[in-house]
């Protein structure tokens, strides 16, 4: 009440907390901001268009998730789909990675149980951003194990907006990679914990996380080769100890047994070459530990003799057994997709389907800079700090970084695997440099002049301030770049296109959904639709009709047959279409709107794939070029090209359409030429539907005439 001469100054509540509590509060604040940021930066396309599934592959995942949510797990596991790959069908239960579908269906069921009715489609659309928030948190935990909490926070902030990861996990991109990156980093975190602690508990948790990873993505092969590589590196540098032994033995045994529970994986872990490294390292671990034990028991000379004998015997025996198994075919060689990572020219020379996928092309420097910006500069810095203080965990991240740089250089799609390790190493680099410089800041004002001339440090405090300012400016430019890239390049749904007209207003091209819904409502239930394999998943998911080939591309001969039909003349194509019971044909045509990913631009791939099998021998790529070797659709174009089925379907009635001011009718806006073959009639097809902007064209196959002519 009355003052007794004591000055009482009320301290703010923030300063009243102990340093540990301030520390925890700051960390939780930064982590939650990073998690919320990573969720919100992926919502551009939902805000601009609507909550819709993007691209091609996600439509298949959406259809299977819907089936799982409605029918239950056992029918899903035993599902044989007769509406795709007519007349072959596809065993869906045994040929997919079910992790994604099961995760979505579980979330859907849990929300329904809590009486929050969110539709399956919305769960699918927003699943990837949700898992990206979880990835942010796991990255923090992983980097904390590798270096310290400061690096963890920087890495978490960087991975929340890095474009390389956003490109495959934007809202609407409902694909395996959305959850696979989270599972991969979780497995790595638990592996590092297992290596550092050497307990079976952490090893078992790592095996369970590995099981989740195997169920979600085919890229688990990377993990099951990176972890043994890490163990070998530790052996070579002399860091093998009982902790690594326990960790790897637990992870390998439990992990392999769990991974074989997925039907798609089956017995591959003991049969295919991609898994043999893990098995070999498991054997090597046992031998190494046994040798260490025996060495501690035997006198030196006896040990030398025994050691040399065992080495020669084992090496010889394993080479013999391995050779015999490979030659007799019990161990299958590396499959095409993974072999092309080791020998990049293999796909280009041998398997045109793998070579034609745009995501499988090698990477150029601009893709690296575009997807990572500041991180490509900080990657060597992080590596430098890891190399200067080598620990068991640092060696792992170095191996991860080096291998993923190489794989990202081979295939653009694998930039996704590179992005997390870039963030982790950049976080380590940024945090270490800023910590060293922050310690040199002279905040107190006393005795600056005298101190400066004593040591031979040059303007210690000023240099520190300059460096910190420069670093912060670089991080700010990183943020601007990432947001710009996300907004402009990675947020387009591909199923809905938008463009600006000359007066500035936006035109929306919703032709794809218009065509698929026309198919759904105006064709009989058992109609078969032929199109190029790109559109297969979308047709089954939205139009609900049977198709011949889809994006799974598991049967090259069937796709080649479709390619032959597209590339042949009408009469020959009619034979193929009657053989396959085709009722409708669907093509994508971009000549009116200027949409450049249409079927005419993909046509050469149809010719190559069509001519790559036995029955397509008569289709040669050279026939479709002009005598001077150009691919032209105007008057100079090759007559075989101007009369093939694809050309006729795309340009039927196009010869009388004016597309641009000052150009003749029938001017193709993508190829920038007037078409060569204008006024023709179709003999075996009749036009069923053309969408508003002529993007999708559907034709009905005429039945055989009743009387022989």
């Amino acid at each position: 009440m009355s003052s007794t001469g004591v000055q009482y100054k009320k301290k703010g509540w923030l300063i009243q907390m102990s340093p540990e509590k301030q520390d925890t509060l700051l960390k939780m604040l930064i982590l939650s901001m990073a998690a919320i940021l990573s969720f919100s930066t992926r919502l551009f396309s939902v805000l601009r268009f609507e909550s819709v599934i993007h691209e091609f592959d996600p439509y298949f995942n959406y259809r299977t998730t819907r089936f799982l949510a409605e029918e239950g797990f056992y029918s899903f596991h035993n599902w044989f789909d007769d509406r795709a790959w007519y007349p072959l069908g596809r065993i869906i239960g045994g040929t997919i990675y079910p992790g994604l579908m099961i995760t979505s269906a579980t979330i859907y069921r849990v929300l329904r149980f809590l009486n929050i009715p969110i539709d399956v489609r919305n769960v699918c659309v927003f699943l990837a951003p949700l898992f990206s928030s979880l990835t942010t948190i796991v990255t923090y935990l992983l980097t904390k194990e590798l270096k310290d909490a400061g690096s963890g926070l920087v890495a978490a902030a960087m991975i929340s907006i890095v474009p390389g990861y956003i490109s495959r996990s934007v809202a609407g991109s409902y694909d395996n990679e959305g959850i696979a990156i989270f599972c991969m980093l979780l497995t790595y975190y638990l592996w590092i914990k297992a290596v550092k602690s050497g307990t079976i508990y952490w090893g078992a948790l790592c095996a369970i996380a590995y099981f989740y990873m195997v169920s979600s993505w085919g890229g688990y092969v990377f993990l099951i080769n990176l972890i043994p590589l890490h163990v070998i590196a530790l052996m070579i540098t002399g860091r093998f100890s009982h902790r690594i032994y326990i960790a790897y033995s637990t992870v390998y045994c439990l992990g392999t047994m769990l991974s074989m529970q997925i039907s798609f994986v089956g017995f591959q872990p003991v049969q295919s070459s991609e898994h043999m490294a893990a098995l070999g390292v498991f054997g090597l671990c046992q031998l190494h530990a046994f040798v260490d034990y025996v060495r501690s028991r035997l006198p030196k000379e006896h040990f030398e003799v025994l050691f040399k004998t065992v080495i020669f015997l084992t090496a010889g025996l394993s080479a013999l057994v391995g050779g015999v198994l490979t030659v007799t075919g019990k161990i299958s060689p590396w499959t095409g997709r993974f072999y092309s990572l080791l020998d990049p020219s293999y796909a280009k020379n041998n398997i045109p389907i793998i070579a034609s996928v745009s995501e499988h092309q090698p990477t150029s420097w601009s893709s690296f800079y575009f997807d990572l910006q500041l991180l490509v500069f900080m990657f060597p810095v992080g590596l430098y700090f890891c190399f200067s203080k080598l620990t068991d965990a640092n060696i792992f991240i170095i191996l991860y970084g080096v291998t993923s740089i190489y794989f990202a250089g081979v295939m653009v799609r694998l930039m996704l695997v590179l992005a997390p390790v870039m963030c982790i190493l950049a976080g380590i680099g940024v945090s270490s440099m800023m910590t060293t410089y922050a310690k040199q800041l002279d905040v107190s004002q006393q005795d600056r002049k005298t101190k400066r001339f004593e040591s031979n440090f040059f303007m210690k405090s000023e240099v520190a301030w300059t460096f910190l300012t420069v670093m912060m400016a670089l991080l700010v430019t990183y943020t601007f770049h990432c947001t710009w890239v996300t907004s402009e390049a990675y947020s387009s749904p591909s199923i809905v296109l938008s463009a600006r007209s000359h007066d500035g207003s936006r035109i929306i091209f919703d032709d794809f959904r218009e065509a698929y819904y026309w198919l759904r409502q105006n064709t009989p239930e058992d109609a078969k639709v032929m199109s190029w394999w790109d559109y297969g998943y979308q047709i089954t998911a939205m139009a609900n009709r049977t198709i011949l080939v889809d994006n799974n591309t598991w049967n090259n001969t069937h796709i080649s047959r479709v390619g032959q039909a597209m590339a042949s003349s009408e009469e020959k194509a009619y034979e193929i279409m009657r053989e396959l019971d085709v009722d409708y044909v669907l093509v994508i045509f971009g000549g009116l709107t200027g949409y450049s990913s249409d079927d005419i631009n993909k046509f050469l791939w149809m010719v190559r794939i069509g001519g790559s099998t036995d029955r397509g021998r008569h289709i040669k790529e050279q026939d479709y070029y002009t005598p001077s070797g150009e691919f032209r659709i105007d008057r100079e174009g090759s007559p075989i090209l101007l009369n093939c089925l694809m050309y006729k379907m795309c340009y039927y009635r196009f010869g009388s359409v004016y597309t641009e001011a000052g150009k003749p009718p029938g001017y193709d806006r993508v190829r920038n030429a007037e078409i060569g073959n204008k006024d023709f009639e179709l003999d075996v097809l009749e036009e069923a539907y053309t969408t508003e902007h002529w993007l999708v064209r559907i034709y009905k196959v005429k039945k055989l005439p009743n009387r022989g002519v």
Binding site: P362, F387, I405
Partner: protein, 148 residues
């Protein structure tokens, strides 16, 4: 055990060889490994695998209005394509930028003379700033709509 061990020598004769492990062969130090990794980083980021598979020209060329062919350094409008020289130039900048930070980290030793420290600090800052800014300019030249 001795019987099994001496069995091959009933048939074979031991040659009089003296093989020694060469003394210069030892495990490389951490920094040697780091420089090897950095060299491979330079090559891969320069798009060497793209160059081997797609075989682009070293420098592109266009024809201007008078019919003379002009060289084009950057393949325009495409993020996923490059010429060989532009790839190597950019990855050189990436590596130099990273090394700038490493140089700055070496300036904290109290026993280096003053002049050396000043030089190292300025080299470090110049490396970082020039490479970052030049890469930004390169990207703008490649993608005219970059950061609008």
């Amino acid at each position: 055990m001795e019987i099994a061990y001496s069995l091959p020598f009933a048939v074979l004769e031991i040659p009089n060889l003296k093989l020694k492990r060469p003394s210069w062969l030892h495990q490389p130090s951490a920094m040697v490994m780091y420089s090897l990794v950095l060299a491979s980083y330079f090559l891969v980021c320069g798009g060497i695998i793209y160059d081997v598979i797609v075989e682009p020209p070293s420098i592109g060329s266009t024809v201007d209005e008078h019919g003379h062919s002009k060289p084009v350094a950057f393949m325009p409008y495409r993020v996923n394509g490059q010429y060989i020289m532009e790839g190597l130039a950019s990855s050189f900048l990436f590596t130099i930028g990273g090394l700038g930070f490493v140089v700055l980290d070496q300036t904290h030793n109290p026993s280096t003379p003053r002049l050396n420290r000043i030089l190292l600090i300025s080299v470090g800052f110049v490396c970082i700033l020039v490479s970052f800014f030049t890469c930004w300019v390169f990207m703008r030249m490649k993608l005219p709509g970059y950061l609008q």
